[in-house]
Amino acid sequence: MRKRVIFWMTFIGGIYFFLEFMLPAEIWLPQSLLTWLKGDGTGPLARNMLGDKGFIFGGLHEDISNGAIITGVMALGLGLINIMRLHGVRLAKLRKGWVHSAGLIAGMLITIFVGFWHWGSPESVTGKLYGNIIMGTRGLFPGLSSAMFSLLAFYVATAAYRAFRIKSGEAALLMFSALLVMLGQIPHGVVFFDAIFRHGPLRDVSIIDIRMWILKKLNVGAFRAISLGFGVAGLAMATRMWLSMGMGSFFQDEEGK
């Protein structure tokens, strides 16, 4: 029984979005029926779901998508609960690291408080706290985000140093193409390359062209092939998900026990 309920809910979850795409924009109906259905043209059906030629299946698409998002958004509280269970308990029992847990919970509660208090009046103190200190372009949150993001500048360097070594064919290929591209994107790399290959068969070739060729031509083929592969796999997986096929491992219920 439970299994059947879950199966049907899963099916219902998918059927609308499946049909909305697979059916034509307007499903043809005879004009007489259409006129009769429309009536005086002010009813909700006539306004949203009946076109000039027929029935518009996706007439309420925006509202239905909205509803679906509402369900998903409701899960936000799960995150809150997870955090309170982990950090709230640590703080309450003063376990190791409680100071940090306190910081986390304070950061969260303060953000929520100033985010809602005086909502819509950015000149108030809470508005300033939210709009400047926390969310201002040079404030805490963007600062933390940009700083985290920019750590990548250091990490690409260590990753390149560690991995780009002529130890295997693959590593060597990675290295050579990365080097070509890197030299091709800094002006002084271009000068450097031209100076080395002033004579010989490569004298008419610019490294800029080589870089563009790799990025525009070679990459396109490889990336496209990869994505076509997982595209097909994704479609198959999606269908199985929708029809609850082979989901045994995730929905072996406590029911049987």
């Binding site: 509803g67 949150f141 933390l144």
Partner: protein, 239 residues
């Protein structure tokens, strides 16, 4: 400088330095800001979702639809918007996972969202991959406008087709790769992928470095004068 702006810059700078302190090693200063960051991230997620979505697109339509609230100017909500209570109530089922007895009910909403993911994938597949398939229809022989073979363009198209073939053959799992043709094609496919990945790595280096330049510019040009004014005074004596 306005006091709030100055506070904003000082706070942002300290946060930046805290993150960079991790480069030396994991330390309490970093750890504090890491936790603060997560806390603010959760808080902002809730504030933004409620302010930009849940209230205007969910709660407000329900309240207006039920006649409990006056809609704003240029807004109108029919009584049908009360139906949004259904997804709202369904969302509450997520919280059933915290009850031993009703835990199974959470699977209803989880199943619903899995099913939705499945249904949406059809549009995703065709709108994303069909154009890619069509863009691959390139002639292997291209003539120049005035006659004569366009070597470069033909070569490019041959490379594209060859790469596509080899890399796709690498991703066949249930066929025996011992067949010499397939074996060589899939091996070349792997090599071609490595060239592409290396190139992409190289291409991102500039963008990543630019991010750090931005942060350093902020620290040097905005933060240092705001947080350490005496530095600016002693340094900029001439101006």
């Amino acid at each position: 400088m306005d006091g709030w702006l100055r506070a904003e810059i000082i706070a942002g700078g300290i946060a930046t330095i805290a993150i960079y302190s991790f480069l030396w090693k994991e330390n309490p200063f970093y750890r504090f800001f890491e936790h603060l960051f997560i806390g603010m991230g959760v808080g902002i997620g809730i504030v933004v979702t409620v302010r930009n979505f849940m209230w205007p697109k969910g709660i407000k339509p329900i309240l207006c639809g039920a006649g409990l609230m006056e809609p704003g100017p240029r807004e109108s909500y029919g009584a049908a918007y009360v139906l949004y209570l259904i997804p709202l109530m369904m969302g509450f089922l997520y919280y059933a996972i915290y009850s031993k007895r009703y835990r199974w009910m959470a699977r209803i909403v989880i199943g619903f969202s899995l099913g939705m993911g499945g249904g949406l994938a059809f549009k995703g597949f065709f709108s994303e991959y069909l154009p890619q398939i069509i863009k691959s229809f390139k002639p292997l022989v291209v003539w120049q406008a005035g006659g004569g073979l366009d070597w470069m363009e033909s070569f490019n198209n041959v490379v594209l087709f060859f790469t596509l073939t080899c890399v796709m053959s690498y991703f066949f799992f249930s066929f025996d790769h011992e067949l010499p043709v397939i074996k060589q094609a899939s091996a070349s496919g792997r090599w071609l992928m490595m060239v592409s990945f290396g190139a992409f790595f190289g291409a991102t280096v500039m963008a990543r470095m630019a991010l750090l330049v931005e942060r350093l510019q902020f620290l040097i040009e905005d933060w240092a004068p705001a947080a350490l004014p005496w530095l600016a005074h002693s340094g900029g004596g001439g101006g």
